[in-house]
């Protein structure tokens, strides 16, 4: 542990035990231990290349190249929203098709949508401020509207843990404010939200917990304690001092 800040005393939704995540064959996050409290909003912050997205990928199940343990209740559904750049918006799909895919765990490749499902899609779109957009093509939407669509899909996933990777990148202030309000709603519904963010003002205002990452844990705990100048300075130093050519450390302990 590189910081003395204690993780808040809340029942964990996800616990990490000595987690080392590799991205394209190189370790991106080292020896991370700690817990995301159930029903909390946690921001993951750190310099570029700090391993934030790799951590989220491992939590979301898209990166399987890791050592150590990720422990969570198997019954707990996880919704993972990768960075917007991962989405090909030129592909011809309609908004309601994208949102309905949040039901994948139930409908899979062949399941049909019920009338209630269609109604739920309309409701989810209304909740993100896109009432009446269900028949529009994804490619016709602005970046902000597309991000709202993806949040509507997260709503459909009805997940206990929600992972968001830089959800407000290149998104205007109005959309960001609306989607941040959605995060507060998820917290009220006792969902656990873990979001990678860069805007520290936003983090201070809306997130109670912060994991400050610079390839390894710099600090993890209540926002005010983690986002101290000394921690931020340390994170920056660690990111700059990182030796890309150093041999991979041995993890099996």
């Amino acid at each position: 542990m590189t910081s003395g800040v204690a993780v808040a005393d809340i029942a964990p939704a996800i616990s990490l035990r000595d987690l080392t995540v590799s991205y394209r064959g190189h370790p991106a996050v080292h020896h991370l231990s700690g817990a995301f409290g159930a029903g909390t909003l946690t921001a993951v912050v750190g310099p570029n290349g700090a391993g934030k997205s790799s951590l989220l990928g491992a939590l979301g199940g898209t990166i399987r190249d890791f050592e150590g343990r990720i422990e969570r209740d198997p019954a707990l559904r996880v919704a993972y929203l990768p960075q917007a750049s991962a989405l090909d918006r030129s592909f011809p799909v309609r908004v309601h098709e994208v949102v309905a895919m949040g039901l994948w765990p139930r409908i899979g490749s062949f399941g049909a949508l019920t009338a209630a499902d269609h109604a739920a899609v309309i409701d989810a779109l209304a909740a993100v401020g896109l009432r009446g957009f269900d028949q529009r093509w994804l490619g016709e939407l602005s970046a902000g509207q597309a991000q709202r669509v993806l949040f509507a899909r997260v709503l459909m996933q009805d997940a206990g843990v929600i992972l968001l990777d830089e959800p407000f990148n290149a998104i205007d202030a109005r959309t960001t404010a609306d989607l941040l309000a959605l995060l507060q709603r998820w917290k009220r519904e006792a969902r656990t939200v873990i979001a990678v963010l860069h805007d520290l003002v936003q983090v201070r205002e809306h997130f109670e917990q912060v994991l400050l990452l610079a390839r390894e844990r710099v600090a993890w705990g209540p926002t005010a304690e983690v986002l101290k100048a000394e921690h931020l300075f340390k994170a920056r130093q660690m990111a700059e001092a990182w030796d890309e050519t150093a041999p991979a450390c041995k993890v099996s302990a």
């Binding site: 394209r24 979301g60 199940g61 898209t62 996880v78 919704a79 993972y80 990768p82 991962a86 989405l87 090909d88 918006r89 592909f91 011809p92 799909v93 309609r94 098709e97 994208v98 895919m101 994948w104 765990p105 899979g108 490749s109 062949f110 093509w137 994804l138 899909r153 996933q157």
Partner: protein, 292 residues
């Protein structure tokens, strides 16, 4: 009018080989064009071309071992192209190289190997036949193979439709919900290669990809959704097949290039006049907008 009818229908009524060729090209359109649409939308247009070249060494090996035997050459072609696809996927995953570069490198190796193998025993005529086929020489076995592959293609696309679409525009999401993204990708590659191989005798490895990609690329200029694109591209492919055969018959030109060139004509017309982003259409709309 009867002159027109006789020149359009006459060759098909009169000659069994023309009817056979027509059925072959119609069935090929049904299988190939929808695959082409998926490739276009997934930005994999050149993968079709690479796979068409990759069929060659396997077909040539089949030719060396068993002579002009359709099953041997088809099986060889299928194995060779799948090997190139899997090897390209492996190189992409195991190294920082991007997939297009691995595909390009491996298909060039395959192409050179194929030409070398043909030259070991075959003549230049054999090589030309492999590359460009002969739709007028399609026999029952080839026709059956084309029909079976087209039927399997439509069924497989229908069964994999949802994961295939999701994997195309949001692969990360499909992975995160544990969907069969890798399987969808693999099924697409198998279908692609199976269609190229089934088109092999009729059109040859290189012309086959024309019937696959040109109608798909043309359809994109008229309709938006994948199902509409698939339907329209089948229609364009089938119409081009019939028109190409007639052109070939009346002008005494080789049939494969005629069919693909008619597809190319449909593509150029679509680029210019397509209702979605056609160059001339856009100009016209822009002018009326400004003067309104």
């Amino acid at each position: 009018m009867s002159l027109l009818a006789s020149s359009l229908l006459g060759p098909f009524i009169e000659f069994p080989f023309m009817r056979r060729a027509l059925v072959a090209t119609l069935a090929l359109s049904v299988g190939c064009a929808p695959i082409g649409c998926v490739l276009v939308l997934r930005r994999m247009s050149l993968v079709g071309d690479a796979m068409a070249h990759a069929v060659l060494p396997g077909a040539a090996a089949g030719f060396l071992l068993a002579g002009l035997s359709l099953p041997a050459m088809s099986l060889g072609g299928f194995v060779a192209a799948m090997a190139v696809a899997l090897a390209a996927g492996f190189v992409t995953r195991a190294t920082p190289q991007r997939e297009d570069a691995s595909f390009a490198a491996l298909y060039l190796i395959a192409l050179a190997l194929g030409v070398l193998l043909v030259s070991l025993r075959g003549s230049q005529i054999d090589l030309l036949h492999m590359l460009f086929g002969s739709v007028l020489a399609v026999d029952d076995a080839a026709l059956l193979q084309i029909a079976v592959v087209a039927s399997i293609t439509l069924w497989a696309l229908a069964l994999m439709y949802r994961p295939l679409v999701l994997e195309s525009f949001d692969p990360g999401f499909l992975r995160s919900v544990g969907g069969p993204g890798a399987r969808a990708h693999m099924v697409l590659l198998v279908l692609l290669v199976a269609n190229l191989v089934s088109a092999f005798q009729a059109l040859g490895t290189l012309m086959a990809v024309g019937l696959m990609m040109l109608p798909a690329a043309a359809a994109r200029f008229w309709v938006a959704s994948l199902p509409a694109m698939a339907a329209l591209s089948v229609a364009i492919g089938a119409a081009s097949g019939a028109a190409g055969l007639l052109l070939s018959y009346h002008a005494e030109l080789p049939s494969g290039p005629c069919i693909v060139l008619v597809c190319g004509g449909a593509y150029i017309v679509s680029v210019l006049f397509g209702t979605r982003d056609g160059i001339v259409t856009r100009r016209l709309l822009a002018t009326s907008h400004l003067t309104r």
